[in-house]
C-alpha cells in the first residue's frame, strides 16, 4: 500500500459498519441502476427459466411453475462492484436449490452460465449457487421487482458482486468448464467475492 493521499479525510467514520466489505460505501436508501444494454420489455406471461446443460433432467419453468416451488426469502446486504453496498434488503422468490432438486446437475457440472433475456451473460462456480446461497427473485421489499432492477425475475447471488445477479434471467446452463460471461470478458473477475475485492480479472 502506498501512503495516504494528501489532504484526504474521507467520510466521517466513527465506526465503520462491519457489514461493509473493503472499498465499499453504504448507498443508503438509494438503489442505483446499472445496465449495459437497453432495458428489455418482458411480461410475466412470456417469461420462463430453463435449467440445462450438465443436468440429468433439463427443465423449464414458467411464471406459474416457479411460483409453485417453495417460497424463499433473502434478507441481507448486496454489494455492487462500482463500490456501493445496500444494507437490509429483502427479496422474495425461490431458492435455486429448488430448481437443482428437479434438474439434478451431474457430477460433471462445475460452472454455470446465466443468460438474460437481453443477451447478458455471467459465469459462476456452481458451488456459489447451491446450499441456500442463491435465489430466483421477483419481489423486493414486498413489491414486484421493477423492470429496471431485473424484473419480472432476476438471479440473486448476494455473497458475490451484484453483476453476478443477472437481471431478466431466463437460462442457467450447467457447464463442465468455466466460460466467461459479458462483464467477465470485458475485464471483470470470474468469481467476484466482495470480501476479497475480486473486482477485475487478475485480482487474487
Amino acid at each position: 500500500m502506498p501512503g495516504p493521499t494528501r489532504g484526504f479525510l474521507g467520510r466521517s467514520r466513527p465506526a465503520r459498519d462491519p457489514r461493509l466489505p473493503p472499498g465499499q460505501y453504504d448507498v443508503g436508501a438509494d438503489w442505483p441502476v446499472l445496465t449495459a444494454e437497453p432495458t428489455p420489455r418482458i411480461s410475466p406471461e412470456t417469461w420462463s427459466i430453463t435449467v440445462a446443460g450438465k443436468v440429468e433432467n433439463p427443465t423449464t419453468w414458467d411464471w406459474a411453475g416457479v411460483h409453485a416451488l417453495p417460497a424463499s426469502e433473502y434478507r441481507g446486504d448486496i454489494h455492487c462492484v462500482t463500490t456501493w453496498s445496500k444494507f437490509d434488503t429483502r427479496f422474495a422468490g425461490v431458492s435455486l436449490d429448488s430448481l437443482w432438486d428437479v434438474a439434478r446437475p451431474t457430477t460433471e457440472g462445475a460452472f454455470v452460465m446465466a443468460t438474460s433475456k437481453s443477451g447478458y451473460t455471467t459465469n459462476l462456480p456452481i458451488e456459489d449457487l447451491v446450499g441456500g446461497k442463491a435465489w430466483l427473485v421477483w419481489e423486493f421489499d414486498g413489491q414486484p421487482l421493477s423492470i429496471e432492477h431485473g424484473g419480472p425475475v432476476r438471479l440473486l447471488v448476494p455473497h458475490l458482486y451484484f453483476w453476478k445477479s443477472a437481471k431478466w434471467v431466463t437460462k442457467l446452463d450447467v457447464l463442465k468448464r468455466d466460460q466467461q460471461g459479458f462483464w467477465e470478458r470485458n475485464g471483470y473477475h470470474d468469481r467476484g467475492d466482495p470480501w476479497r475485492q475480486q473486482r477485475y480479472q487478475g485480482d487474487a
Binding site: P32, E37, T83
Partner: protein, 230 residues
C-alpha cells in the same frame, strides 16, 4: 482481458471549466493505452488507511500523453469533492485502468454517440480519437444538457458537428426541449453501434428512443451513472 495493478498518477493539470466539476490531467506511471470510452478508478487513502474509490471516464484520446478525467462534483461525493475542492497540481493519486471493454469504440466502425450532461465525457474521448486519426466521418453525435454553459466540452462537441439539445434554454432557433427521435433519426446510419451515456434516466430514455426507432438492442451500448430515478 486483465486489468493492470494500481499505479500512481501525478496531477499535471487541473481546471474547472464549468461549474461543479473538475478536469484533471494525469501523468500515469506505467500507463497502458486506453480505448476511447474506457474508464479509470481513482482511489484515495486517508491517514488511518481508510480508502474510497470511484470510477471516472477518460476524456482524452489514446494519443494524448496525459490521461484526462472530467469529474462532476457531487455534494455528497466523497471522492469527487476531494478532487474538486482539495486536489492540486503536483499531488499524486492512486489509479487503476483502463477498465471496460464494452463501452469502448474501436475507432474503425461507424458509431452513434448519445450523451447527457457529464455523460458526454467518454464520447469526447471518442470524438478526440476520431479527430486525431482523421476519422470523424465515422461518428454521429447528439448531446443533451440543461444549458450550454453546463455542457462539458461544448466547443469541441459543436466543432465535431454534434447535435446539441438543451432542456432549459433555447439553442439557436430551437426552444428548450428534451432529446427526441427527431433529433436522432437523421444521425442513424447503417452498421452503427450506438454508445449512450448519462444519468440513469437519460440513458434509459435515450436507449429506448433508439430501440423505438428500430435500432437493434444488441447494437446499443449503455453506460449509466448516478442514482436511480425512483
Amino acid at each position: 482481458m486483465t486489468v493492470g495493478p494500481w499505479t500512481t498518477a501525478t496531477i499535471a493539470g487541473l481546471k474547472r471549466p464549468i461549474a461543479r466539476s473538475v478536469q484533471l490531467r494525469l501523468d500515469v506511471a506505467d500507463r497502458v493505452d486506453h480505448l476511447p470510452g474506457q474508464h479509470y478508478v481513482v482511489r484515495l487513502t486517508a491517514e488511518d488507511g481508510y480508502t474510497a474509490q470511484r470510477s471516472y471516464s477518460v476524456a482524452s484520446a489514446p494519443s494524448d500523453p496525459l490521461v484526462e478525467l472530467f469529474v462532476e462534483r457531487l455534494d455528497d461525493g466523497e471522492v469527487s469533492t476531494y478532487l474538486a475542492d482539495v486536489a492540486e497540481p503536483g499531488d499524486t493519486l492512486e489509479v487503476r485502468g483502463p477498465i471496460g471493454g464494452w463501452f469502448a469504440w474501436d475507432g474503425e466502425t461507424p458509431a452513434l454517440l448519445v450523451g447527457g450532461g457529464t455523460g458526454v465525457v467518454p464520447l469526447v474521448a471518442m470524438v478526440r480519437h476520431a479527430v486525431a486519426t482523421d476519422r470523424l466521418d465515422l461518428l454521429r453525435v447528439a448531446v443533451s444538457a440543461r444549458t450550454l454553459a453546463e455542457l462539458p466540452y461544448a466547443d469541441e462537441l459543436l466543432a465535431a458537428g454534434a447535435v446539441v439539445v438543451l432542456t432549459r434554454e433555447a439553442h439557436g432557433v430551437r426552444p428548450p426541449a428534451r432529446l427526441t427521435a427527431v433529433d436522432l433519426l437523421p444521425l442513424w446510419e447503417e452498421g452503427q453501434t450506438a454508445f449512450v451515456c448519462g444519468s440513469s434516466g437519460f440513458a434509459e430514455s435515450a436507449s429506448q428512443l433508439l430501440v423505438g426507432m428500430g435500432f437493434a438492442p444488441s447494437a446499443v451500448r449503455v453506460e449509466r451513472f448516478g442514482p436511480s430515478a425512483a
